[in-house]
């Protein structure tokens, strides 16, 4: 029997671990997909917040709102079967949050300057 690629990692059994082994390549590919989606949507959210002229706390509230919608969209894309595609809920809901925040603020200030100051 020849075996192809596809590395498997043996996850040490934690408290309530449903998947003792998993396909690590696919997990990484899924994480990359989430990262791309979140980054793109952070940029779009920044541009929209700049156009609307949001300032201070309202802008960050808008960012959290868009990220919540993104999480819902990702859940719907995974057809709500998280355990078939990821190893924990945190990955889908919380993963690209803070890195997206930086991009959001960058494009928010950029769009705000473009529309309201110049």
């Amino acid at each position: 029997m020849t075996s192809n690629a596809g590395s498997e990692i043996e996850k040490k059994s934690g408290d309530d671990n449903l998947l003792p082994t998993m396909n690590a390549e696919n997990l990484q590919a899924n994480m990359r997909t989430i990262y791309y989606s979140r980054t793109f949507l952070s940029i779009i959210a920044g541009v929209i917040a700049g156009i609307l002229g949001l300032t201070n706390l309202t802008g960050f509230v808008f960012y959290f709102f868009v990220m919540a919608i993104t999480s819902l969209g990702l859940l719907a894309k995974a057809k709500f079967s998280i355990h078939a595609h990821f190893d924990s809920w945190n990955r889908v809901v919380l993963d690209g949050f803070l890195s997206g925040l930086m991009s959001f603020v960058l494009f928010w200030t950029f769009a705000y300057d473009l529309v309201h100051i110049f």
Partner: protein, 106 residues
């Protein structure tokens, strides 16, 4: 993938049009010397539409989610050898009936 990419580009175009309209609206307000509180209604509609289209594109373009179950059908790590050195044809299979439904995964 291509239709989602086109939808994303279209969403970005709608957003840039909204930017341009808001800039024009602002210069218009400067002439009238009024305060800017929020962009006009059609710009807000355009922004919502652009957000929805970009949301769709951001979810559809990067690719499907792959299953991480090691024993799901698409994660088979064993396949029949495709190497020509191991293929022999002079065997007893000649005597078997002709159409056998074989599940081959290359």
């Amino acid at each position: 993938m291509n239709i989602s990419f086109a939808i994303g580009v279209f969403g970005i175009l709608i957003l840039s049009h909204a930017t341009y309209s808001t800039i024009q609206y602002r210069s218009f307000l400067k002439i009238l010397e009024e305060e800017f509180s929020s962009p006009p209604f059609n710009v807000v509609v355009e922004l919502i539409l652009g957000l929805v289209l970009c949301l769709w594109a951001a979810l559809a373009v990067p690719g499907k989610f792959l299953s991480i179950h090691p024993d799901s059908e698409e994660n088979r790590i064993v396949s029949l050898p495709a190497n020509l050195d191991f293929m022999i044809f002079n065997h007893r299979g000649r005597a078997l009936p002709k159409d056998v439904n074989m599940k081959l995964k290359c």
